[in-house]
Amino acid sequence: MPNKIMIYCFAFLMCNAGSLQAQAPESYYNDAFERIDSMLSGKSALDFKKAVFLTENAYFENQLDPEVFDNYIRFCTSICRGIIASGNILYPESDGEKAAAQCAVMVFMTDTIPIQIGKDVVIHAPFEYNFEDFAGQKEWSSMFVSTLMETQKGNCHSLPFLYKMIMDELGQDCYLSLSPNHIYIKVQNKRVGWYNIELTCGDFPTDAWLMSSGYIHIDALRNGIYMDTLSQKQSAALCLVDLAQAYQAKFGMQDGRFILQCCETALAHFPNYINALLLKAETETALYKQSPPDSETKKKLLLQMNELYTHIHQLGYRKMPEKMYLNWLNSMGTQTTDYRMKSLLVPQDDL
């Protein structure tokens, strides 16, 4: 009976407690904002992993240990390297290294992996989907990669983020991609061309399926607000909106200034980032409702709101009803999708 490996160091993940003097909780968000902003403006190097860490660390009020966070990613990467080296991935084209990495990380995250340590064989269990709190409604940190590290449970935010971090560590191209209320992975190899990886259920949905079932208007595709590959910079800009949402989850909207600042900075670097546009519009709507009747601000906000919602509609965004979203999540994995990609995976018995 193989032992189940317990990820050893997460007791230490939040070990910085007490070592720092008390700081106003909001200031952590400002720090994170400054540092991600400097990445986006080119003052410091773009680093997706760091941007994610900064966002999560702000929420935990600087209690996360960057070393532990990094070590975990390195640990995952080393297992993936082992899977690549195992020779179990059969791929006929010349870009084998790339395809093997794509496959290995997928297998690592969604499948049970036996690992030989000395004479023992230990098992790394696949990550699970957090059905209890998949949208971070009970606890915002359910969205976090650090939570995924600790609990082995993630969602469509933390799972693709981890996939991308491992691929970045392996030095292979890998892109986040957006669909309504959802993030997934897009990669490309010679045999299949571009394809999608859905980690929440370990599937390879086709674009047509994502589009028809995911409530995506064709204009949203044409304008690239959904199902496009996100660059390194766009991925970091995404973290700014995550930061704003974490802020909102903790403190509420407040005067809206921090949230709008995050949205606008994200939009400066990723102009059609739909989630930034939506958060901005929602915030402006809330501010509009708060503002005194017949005031100048109210009129101005109404004008801005209308403009923004029109823009969002023209980009092809259509709001998906929540029930529909849940059905959609549920249907994933039950559909037959791209067999060509599936055929690349070695059957479980052979591993």
């Binding site: 399926w209 589009m211 044409r222």
Partner: protein, 443 residues
């Protein structure tokens, strides 16, 4: 080689002079010298010289044979020199200016291609109003060597347009409404319509255009995807049916757009609220965007780069006729500068370069392979060593394929296409089984 020629020449003169001596026989006889000639070659040496006894007739033919052989060799060499010169000049010509004009094959009929090109180009430049019906006619007429009658073609369109208008009036619909016009046109092409003839009160039946299961890929006859063929036969496929629709839409003043999906085309129309609908004429249905994406395996990149499911306006449709003209020209005469001219001009007016790039890549690939073959260069590396100029043609080819890749173009997976072909085959079989029933119904 010059040495050979020189030797040959001396042998000839020797032969001739020896014969003269022999025939006359009047010259004084001189006794051969008795003492050893110091200049006489040694025995061993003399063996190496040709035995040239002029008095021996056998000896003579041997020389002649020998001479002839050398002449042949020289001629052969000359031929090979000429061939080499020709090869070199051919390579230079191909590298400098591509394939030469092929119009010499049929000087009379190729002019119809030029005329079609000029007229369509002037439509695109704005010199003449855009007329898709005319553009389609020009292309098909060029292919048939001016055998089509334009007024007959126009009358056909006018008759169909009149039927549409009559039916709209009969059903008391709004004849100025774009959607009404489009829907009537859709019914005219995809449905069986009955008309009351006003004078005689007889009922006329108008039959739909049927799908051409026999040659939908234009493999048996190149003209199987022609609109004029559809008009003549009442059967069409996914190229001729949408084009036919658009020509009729032009005639009745309905707004409709052409749109492509992989190895397929259809019609897009818009309602008053700006919503788009896809009219699929091959099966007479209105289909969703997702249906095309799913069935033809279209990826998000291709949509974003406007390769597929994009409504194409009239300029694009007319520019596409230049692509069609290039294809027809290729079928008639092969690759040359006119082919490229058509493609390049079309590219200037097309929002989506894919078709133009694909044709250019075909041309460039054939050109590169021809040059590489002439240079006897089996690999790109050898080609580069042998001729950097030729290698630049290879690079040009690679660049074209890179551009096509950058557009997000991916070939339809074979299994998906095969599945579709299989479906078509089954449909055809079904149709053939039910043929008699169908005919009875129509009567």
């Amino acid at each position: 080689m010059k040495r050979f020629i020189y030797i040959l020449f001396t042998f000839c003169t020797m032969g001739l002079s020896a014969q003269n001596f022999g025939n006359n026989g009047t010259l004084p006889v001189i006794a051969p010298p008795q003492q050893p000639n110091p200049y006489q070659p040694l025995e061993s040496f003399s063996n190496h010289y040709p035995q040239t006894n002029p008095y021996n007739p056998n000896e003579l033919t041997a020389i002649q044979r020998n001479n002839e052989m050398i002449i042949r060799e020289v001629e052969e060499y000359q031929r090979s020199v000429n061939a080499e010169i020709q090869r070199q000049s051919e390579i230079k010509m191909l590298i400098d200016s591509g394939f030469p004009s092929q119009a010499y094959q049929d000087p009379k009929n190729s002019t119809y291609f030029y005329q079609a090109f000029d007229e369509i180009t002037s439509m695109l430049k704005g010199g003449k109003p855009l007329n898709l019906g005319r553009a389609v006619f020009l292309v098909e007429n060029a292919f048939y060597g001016n055998a089509l009658d334009y007024s007959e073609y126009q009358n056909f369109i006018k008759r169909k347009a009149a039927l549409c208008k009559q039916k709209i009036e009969d059903e008391k619909l709004d004849g100025n409404n774009n959607l009404v016009k489009n829907m009537m046109l859709f019914r005219l092409i995809a449905d069986t319509l009955k008309f009351k003839n006003k004078g005689t009160e007889k009922t006329l039946t108008h039959l739909p255009i049927k799908y051409d299961y026999d040659d939908y890929r234009s493999q048996q006859h190149y003209d199987s995807h022609f609109v004029t063929k559809l008009m003549k036969s009442g059967v069409g496929q996914c190229y001729s049916m949408p084009l036919y629709y658009l020509i009729l839409a032009e005639a009745i003043g309905a707004e409709a757009y052409w749109s492509f999906s992989p190895k397929h085309s259809f019609v897009k129309i818009q309602d008053e609220k700006g919503r788009w609908y896809n009219i699929e004429l091959t099966c007479g249905a209105i289909l969703s965007d997702a249906h095309y994406m799913n069935n033809s395996y279209i990826k998000a990149e291709a949509i974003r780069n406007k390769l597929y499911l994009e409504p194409m306006d009239k300029t694009n449709a007319v520019a596409n006729m230049l692509i069609s003209l290039a294809r027809c020209y290729y079928v008639r005469y092969g690759w040359d500068d006119f082919f490229l001219q058509c493609v390049n001009t079309a590219e200037q007016y097309l929002d989506n370069d894919l078709e133009a790039l694909k044709l250019k890549a075909d041309y460039q690939t054939y050109l590169t392979l021809t040059i590489a073959n002439l240079l006897k260069a089996p690999t790109p590396e050898i080609l580069q060593q042998k001729s950097p100029e030729a290698y630049s043609q290879y690079e040009k080819m690679i660049e074209l394929y890179r551009k096509i890749d950058d557009l997000g173009y991916e070939e339809l997976p074979d299994n998906i296409y095969a599945k579709w072909l299989d479906y078509i085959a089954k449909q055809k079989e079904k149709l053939e089984r039910n043929r008699t029933v169908l005919l009875n119904e129509i009567r």
